[in-house]
Symmetry: C2
Subunit: 363 residues, 2 copies
């Protein structure tokens, strides 16, 4: 076992704002694990919308219209966000690495194991209590550094041939997507419409809904259709067809779908809702095109629709995900790898959304 | 058994429009029951929003802002409404009466029994199929007449001391309300906020949520608080408190509620949604203050909310309702009784919403 240094390299967020709020440090203190925690030497860490949203203060009520996250001024944080964020903060929720030390209450057999992390930090005496859930890399330091600590119940040992960077693409996006599909109760043979299909959660939705035997219909820009096709959706359509009913009918033989899994929101929201069958389900875990939408309550109630928001998922979702990875039921979509010190460039590329799948940084 | 005449008195709706679309007839043909139907001599029939909405074409997409239902011009019907409405049509969904004849497939023991009607006309070979459900008094003739026919599986024999007019207050409002509470899964000890608490569905929600052991918080105009108090909600607040969080805290000791059961919609919608706990449920079966609302998708997804629309309810809901009535677990709230030929006046009073409970007409 290699000796653990006292300091490390880390990308530190110093406050809400632009990319200039990230500071690079080469002598940041290495954290020490609490009795229930493990210390992980980070091998790779995936980027997520949460990094951008936390930095820009998206979770504050004042942000009325979404952009991809630049340049907000006055921000009151924590409106939706539990205990709120304090600075300095090391972000990064999607860690792959090796356990190098454990706290007093943790089985030492974990040392040396390659693990990925579940981003929902729970009160493990009350693990289903969503009010108490905190987010790794937002409400506690995460993986944009050489080392990080996390509760041992938040790591999953993964035994497979994938690379560290490939493994760092999964956790946040795929637990988010699986949580959405679980909440909407997606089953075999159902038609599931997926927005933002080329993104991290979108590509996860395609694979995980397909794994359930659903008929997946992916919405993505034509420039990305070739890449999205590799995820094997049943159908691919333009990102926002002007006549969605006709586009769906042409692809599937039906005007309507059983489920909409949406991470885009914005002006297309009403069109999506209109294409649900009676009793259909809409599920959301994001609104990259804008959170404020117009809802016609008649569409909701006269069609007996359900709408589900999904943020804090149940603990079994992460354990299920690890088993899907080990059985090869889903495959990683690694868009690009950057060195950790180039996080600003990596996040700029992430925000531009020209990639398919997930972007990862390596310390 | 009295002989059944060939003609009857009936209030006939001749098209979409204002109250002048109702025509009074004294020689309208008495309907004959199909093999699976019963013929009911109507003793009383309750009024409902559906009567108004069908008359004015509320179920057409062009109606962007709700009023209480007067004066729409160009209307394309049937946008949400299944097979649509044809004219002439006898409305009235909430019948209490006696079975006076039965079709060939129906047990003659039903003759002479006092019954109430379930307004959802189902395909009884596929009774859970909501796409096939039609509405009594909208997509088939109803009870604003001396006689009406309905499938024998749509009547419930009620054995109790209530008057005919009192029994005609229940079915539509209470199956709607029980369907909402069932869909939201309301349970003992939960805080349930009820809008429009003095109306038919609102007063039903108070009684039925209370029956489940929930802590009911009723929103109603101060002028109606005394009447609403007779329904025994745990708390009564102003119909739209400017600071709802403070009003809730003052009443219950908590800022937030587990469930919002809303039949009002309109500008107060966002305020209601903001007061749900994480994982809370919003359920709607109407939007009398306006169907087009602004939704912040962050409130939905970051708080893990559920939103349920409820229109077509499952068949057991009506059977459950009959048992609650027979056991005296709920009581009627009869606001006023009018003769059938005064339906226009009755509906004018209904639209003015100065009453508490339900208005009934008697042929």
């Amino acid at each position: 076992m290699t000796e653990i240094p006292k300091t490390m390299r880390a990308m530190v967020l110093t406050g809400h704002g632009g990319l200039d709020k990230y500071e690079w440090h080469e002598d940041w203190p290495v954290p020490e694990p609490d009795p229930d925690q493990v210390l992980i030497r980070v091998a790779a860490c995936g980027l997520n919308n949460t990094d951008v949203n936390t930095r820009t203060g998206w979770y504050a009520r004042e942000v009325r219209e979404a952009t991809s996250g630049e340049g907000y001024g006055e921000i009151e944080s924590g409106t939706w966000g539990g205990s709120g964020i304090s600075f300095p903060r090391i972000q990064g929720a999607d860690v792959c690495g090796r356990v190098v030390a454990v706290g007093a209450n943790v089985d030492p057999a974990l040392i040396g194991k390659r693990v990925i992390t579940d981003n929902w930090l729970r009160d493990w005496s009350d693990p289903l209590n969503r009010e108490k859930a905190r987010y790794f890399g937002s409400e506690a330091d995460g993986g944009f550094a050489e080392y990080t600590v996390i509760d041992h119940r938040n790591v999953g040992v993964v035994d497979c041939d994938l690379s560290d960077a490939e493994l760092a693409t999964f956790s946040c996006s795929y637990t988010t997507a699986e949580g959405m599909l679980s909440r909407a109760g997606v089953g075999r043979g159902e038609r599931v419409l997926i927005t933002g299909a080329s993104g991290g959660v979108g590509s996860a939705l395609i694979q995980l809904a397909g794994r359930r035997g659903a008929i997946t219909i992916a919405l993505a820009s034509p420039a990305k259709h070739a890449q999205v096709a590799e995820l094997k959706p049943a159908h691919i359509l333009d990102r926002a067809p002007a006549d969605l009913a006709a586009a769906l009918h042409g692809a599937t033989g039906h005007d309507r779908v059983d489920v909409v899994a949406d991470i885009v929101g914005g002006p297309y929201f009403a069109t999506l809702l209109d294409q649900l069958v009676r009793g259909g389900r809409y599920v959301t875990s994001g609104a990259i095109a804008g959170p404020i939408v117009e809802l016609d309550l008649r569409t909701l109630y006269l069609n007996d629709l359900q709408m589900h928001g999904s943020t804090v998922v149940e603990p079994h979702i992460f354990r299920d995900l690890v088993s899907y990875i080990e059985r090869g039921e889903i495959r990683p979509v690694l868009a690009a790898t950057y060195p950790l010190e180039k996080l600003r460039e990596a996040q700029t590329a992430f925000i531009e959304k020209k990639h398919t799948g997930n972007i990862v940084v390596v310390p």
